[in-house]
């Protein structure tokens, strides 16, 4: 496909979908190539890639200054597959005036700006320009975006700065936080010299204390030596003093013992005798306690007294009871052997229970058996009669004349039709036009046949009717006779059944096939009952003598035992357990006998104990023993004091002798520091040293605490360097952020001065071309573009938004602004401007002005104009 463009305006009057976007992409691709990115693989390259693969591309001829060139490009899947060639269009030679970056070298704008600035869309042109978010506006929109977004950009950087510099107490910045940490760390670090000084002072004091301790230790050594010397001298003197003290102590003890034995010191024989008596007393007490422990308790004693009335039962009496009990036991065993078996007694009881309502006689049972046989016979007959009666009734139904009558009617109709046919046929042959004797004979034959058939039919009907009436009368008689016989048999059967049912109602339900079997079962049970009753009668007659003897013995024994069984709360007539009762009585009797024996022994021993006790208490009363309540303790005290008295007397004698000998051989008076004094001094020094050691231990602990505290401070001091490093990094970041804000602001100002001023002037130039200075106030300075390329104007000193202008006027101003932008963005080489039917909504007046403007612009711009309606043609 090939197109040639005019230098001024090239108009395409085509329908929508013709390919305007493809057209603009093609132009862009010829100047800038097809963009490729390894990361995203732009959609555009793939979009226009032929489906069957391979390369695609084209060529474009263009003029720069006075020279004409032809650029040829092809595109593959990747940029390395692309080709580029530039020729001099006049000579056809390859040109090196431009490289593959042809677009940027010609227009000095990048690909994106070019793509989106030359294409003016169909929609509201004003909206298209002023909507800062309209992505279609591309490069222009980029200009808009980063300028209009400038405040947000600065705000973002300031926010990032505040993360470090914020001075709030609630949400402090990082630098403030780190300064606080630094402050704490420095405070800790500043404490180090003071702590160190304190540490050294404590260390010096500790040294003094240690020196003092060492001094005391030396003193202690000296005193210890003195103590050893003096101690050796005083060793013998000490023994003398100790003996004197011991003598005094023994004499004091002896004085006390003399008071105790005021009534005389007992001999060893007396002491042994008292001990023997005391042992006998204790033995008797133990015996008595043992006997008492074996006695029954008070309740049991009372029970035994009541039972035996203060007198135990003799052994002969118990033997007699046992003999009687043995006889009773034998008689009972004999009686048990002469009885029916358990099974027989059970059967007898069951049968008696069966015939509890009625005991039928043998004749009665026989009669009912006969009746049951008759009933059974009648039951079979009734079945036969019922079958016969039913068969007759069914046969009666079969004799119903309905079918026969229909057959007869059919035959009658057929015969009638035959007769009529023969009559009609005869008449026909009689009246036949070519009548001959043959036809007459045939006619006569027909008529005669008709008469004969009629007579024959009538006679046959009469004969059949008579025969049927006879058969029916005979059959009805048979049915009546059968019904009578059935009724008579049923009546007899019901009567017999009622009689038998009434008989059976006097007995429990019997499990049998029919009534006859039930009566037979009754007869069998009756026979069994009679047999068992006979047997029972025989047993009863043979046991009567033994039972009389048993009753007599029981009466005698039970009467003899009645006093005891009453107390034991046993009824022998119920339990018949006389052996157990006698055994229990025997046991109780034995216990009661033992009780009486022990009671007597206890009484005897108590008398002996009292006598001995009184004697020993009299002995104890002669000495002031401490515990008069215990004879044992009192006697022990007397014996111990007796031994002590003897030993003390002996020791006093020996000590007096030794003291006398020592006093005779030693001079006792030394004027020197005593051992006690020296020991006292040693003790004082020891106490001081202990106290000093405690102080030293405390001081050492305090030093250790100080050391730890300094360690913590030093750790804090160590962290200062890292904190300072971190703070410096943060401050560096803040510095960079602030510099970024400063340079961004400067860039914005330069950008505005470079683009916005010329933009405003160019736009007013276009406006003047449309309005011819008719509206001097607006055109001279009222209208302008804001930072967002939105229209605004000043009226009487107040700046207003473009929204206050009429829609048509605003669109025109916007169009002029857009043309001005193209001028600014392309200061050197002017590219083509592609207008995609942007004036469809303009009225004729405005469209006329735009046409004039485009004609003016076409002098300096190549305009490619698409429209789908002839009324919007600008050519």
């Amino acid at each position: 496909m090939s197109y040639v463009f005019n230098d001024d305006i090239t108009e395409f009057l085509e329908n929508n979908g013709w390919g305007k976007t493809t057209f603009s992409v093609f132009i862009k691709a010829m100047f800038y190539g097809m963009e490729y990115s390894r990361k995203t693989k732009l959609l555009e390259r793939r979009h226009y890639l032929p489906w069957e693969g391979g390369v695609y591309g084209g060529s474009l001829t263009f003029s720069v200054d006075d020279k004409t060139y032809r650029v040829e490009r092809t595109f593959g899947e990747k940029d390395k597959d692309d080709t580029f060639a530039l020729y001099d269009a006049v000579t056809g030679n390859v040109s090196s005036d431009f490289t593959a970056n042809l677009g940027e070298e010609l227009f000095e704008v990048d690909r994106e700006s070019f793509e989106r600035s030359i294409f003016i869309p169909q929609d509201n042109i004003g909206l298209g320009i002023t909507d800062s978010l309209n992505a279609k506006m591309g490069g222009v929109a980029n200009v808009q975006d980063d300028i209009s977004n400038f405040e947000n950009v600065i705000k973002r950087i300031e926010t990032a700065t505040k993360v470090y510099t914020q001075n709030s107490k609630v949400n402090p910045g990082k630098i403030k936080k780190i300064n606080e940490e630094l402050s704490v760390a420095r405070e800790q670090a500043e404490r180090i010299p003071v702590l160190l000084q304190a540490y050294e002072t404590k260390r010096a004091l500790l040294g003094e204390k240690k020196a003092e301790l060492e001094k005391l230790d030396k003193q202690k050594v000296i005193i210890s030596q003195k103590i050893t010397e003096v101690g050796a001298r005083e060793q013998s003197l000490g023994e003398y003093r100790a003996k004197k003290q011991s003598l005094e102590k023994q004499q004091e003890t002896l004085r006390g013992l003399n008071t105790f034995f005021q009534k005389g010191v007992p001999s060893s024989e007396d002491l042994d005798e008292w001990d023997d008596r005391e042992r006998i007393l204790e033995v008797n007490r133990s015996k008595r306690e043992e006997l008492r422990s074996k006695q029954p308790d008070e309740d049991e004693i009372e029970f035994l007294k009541e039972m035996f009335e203060d007198s135990p039962i003799s052994d002969s009496q118990i033997e007699q009871w046992n003999e009687q009990a043995r006889q009773i036991r034998n008689l009972r065993m004999k009686g048990e052997h002469a009885q029916m078996s358990e099974e027989e007694r059970g059967n007898l009881a069951q049968l008696r229970n069966f015939f509890v309502k009625k005991i039928p006689g043998a004749d009665e049972i026989k009669a009912h058996l006969t009746l049951s046989s008759r009933g059974k016979e009648l039951y079979g007959k009734l079945q036969t009669l019922e079958d016969r009666y039913r068969a007759l009734r069914e046969k009666e139904n079969d004799l119903n004349p309905v079918d026969d009558s229909s057959n007869r009617t059919t035959n009658t109709i057929l015969l009638t039709l035959l007769v009529i046919s023969l009559i009609v046929g005869g008449i026909y042959f009689f009246t036949f036009p070519e009548r001959s004797w043959i036809t007459i004979w045939i006619g006569v034959a027909c008529e005669l046949s008709a008469i004969l058939i009629f007579v024959f039919g009538f006679l046959m009907a009469m004969i059949r009717r008579n025969r049927n009436e006879r058969e029916r009368a005979q059959f009805e008689k048979s049915i009546s006779e059968a019904g009578d016989e059935l009724a008579a048999s049923r009546s007899e059967y019901d009567e017999i059944h009622d009689t038998l049912t009434a008989f059976l109602s006097d007995f429990p339900e019997i499990d049998a096939e029919d009534i006859q079997q039930k009566i037979i079962e009754i007869q069998r049970k009756m026979d069994k009952l009679n047999g068992l009753e006979e047997k029972e009668k025989d047993y009863l007659s043979s046991n009567s003598e033994s039972m009389d003897e048993l009753s007599s013995l029981q009466l005698e024994l039970y009467t003899s035992l009645s006093h005891y069984t009453t107390i034991l709360e046993v009824n022998l007539y119920d339990t018949q357990d006389e052996d157990k009762v006698i055994e229990e009585i025997e046991e109780k009797n034995e216990k009661y006998t033992e009780y009486l024996s022990r009671k007597k022994e206890i009484h005897r021993i108590s008398g002996e104990i009292n006598a001995e006790y009184n004697g020993l208490m009299a002995v104890l009363g002669s000495y002031p023993v401490e515990d008069m309540d215990s004879i044992t303790a009192g006697l022990k005290e007397i014996r111990q004091k007796d031994i002590l008295y003897e030993e003390t007397t002996k020791q006093i004698h020996e000590l007096k002798k030794e003291i006398e000998e020592f006093e005779a051989s030693h001079m006792i008076n030394k004027d020197e520091e005593s051992l006690t004094d020296l020991q006292e001094q040693h003790k004082v020094i020891e106490e001081k040293m202990t106290e000093l050691r405690a102080f030293i231990s405390d001081d050492e602990k305090s030093l250790d605490d100080s050391s730890r505290e300094m360690q913590e401070c030093e750790e804090a001091a160590d962290s200062i360097e890292g904190l300072l490093e971190s703070r410096q990094e943060m401050e560096e970041k803040v510095r960079i952020y602030e510099a970024t804000i400063e340079y961004l602001t400067e860039a914005k100002e330069e950008f505005l001065s470079a683009y916005m001023g010329p933009l405003q002037r160019s736009m007013r130039g276009y406006l003047r071309k449309i309005y011819d200075d008719n509206d001097a106030e607006i055109i001279s300075g009222g209208l302008s573009l804001d930072m967002n390329l939105g229209i605004q104007y000043k009226y009487k000193g107040i700046t207003r938004s473009g929204d206050f202008l009429s829609t048509g006027y605003r669109d025109l101003v916007a169009f002029c602004g857009r043309m001005a932008l193209v001028d600014i963005l392309y200061p050197k080489q002017k590219p083509m401007v592609i207008l995609d039917d942007p004036f469809t909504n303009y009225d004729e007046e405005k469209f006329g002005k735009v046409k004039e403007l485009l004609a003016e612009m076409a002098l300096s711009h190549q305009i490619i104009y698409f429209t789908c309606h002839p009324s919007r043609s600008i050519v």
Binding site: F150, S707, A739, T740, A747
Partner: protein, 361 residues
Amino acid sequence: MRFIHCSDLHLDSKMESNLSNDDARLRREELLDTFTRMVDYAAGNSVKAILIAGDMFDKPHIRKHVKQRVWEEINNHPQIDFIYLQGNHDKSDFLDIDVAYPDNLKLFSEGEWRTYTYDDIAITGREISSYNYKTVYTSLVLDSTRCNIVMMHGQESEYEGKDKTHIINLQELRDKNIDYLALGHIHSYKLDKLDERGVYCYCGALEGRGFDECGEKGFVVLDVVDKKVEVTFVPFAKRLFHEVIIEMTPEDDMLSVLESIKRSTVAFPERDLIKVVLKGYRSMDMDVDLPRIRRTFDEDFFFLKVYDETRVQINYEQYANDKSLKGEFVRLMQKKDIPAADRDRIIEIGIKAVMGEEFVD
């Protein structure tokens, strides 16, 4: 006879690598652990004496349990002598104890050169101060028939420096019959010739304490046989510090950056401390996600920190014909006479702000 030469232990001292408080405390305990391990090493390798060439501590107050552990090590190893020369930082209360020093602790003083002998080996030392720095070298007299090991603490120099109290003037120590000059002060291992007879050696610190102390740390083992000193450096630090520089290009994305870091750090053990510095140029679209880098490698090492020192590469030609605020801004910045790094950063922030993209880091 075998000796260990160590120095600059700085027990219980602060860490220089911006560690968290917990990690810093752990590292302080590890310094102590390494000292203990070194003593165990000495006990297990028939070491006669451990030469501590200064700066065992670096502050006046040492925590109680630290002092206790060091004293325990000295007391529990009576077969090893601890020859301790105090350095410029050793102003601690470590030696303030109630009981007499154990026999195996050997000290030096500022007032005179003191010598401890082991058969024909003499270990001589003196602490330098403002009082003795003028005469210290003159008064050093050594028996040439012995193997002479001299201990000092300070910065090596061929001349007198301004701060004379911390300077070891090697000129003055030459031709003094020194076989091995055991020095402390510099935290990295260095062995060099002193004169025709001897060598001088900085054994370096036992453990690094910051990223300015990268590389192997440990002690030196001296085997003296027939008066000849054989020197062996033994790497002994529990953890090492590493600094990794990643040079970025505009083609890099986060995945390639992570891959580069992975490649550069894969050889480092998990227990070590790593500092990654990103340098070079990146594209405008490439935002360095430092938290992501930290998340990715944080579990791989004891400690990791990352610095972004990259610059955005600006293609000024791209904006030459851009008729917008963005283009105007870039063209303006191109003309500004400001540091290139600042310009790149300002352009990046400005463009991202205009484009509505994220730029806060």
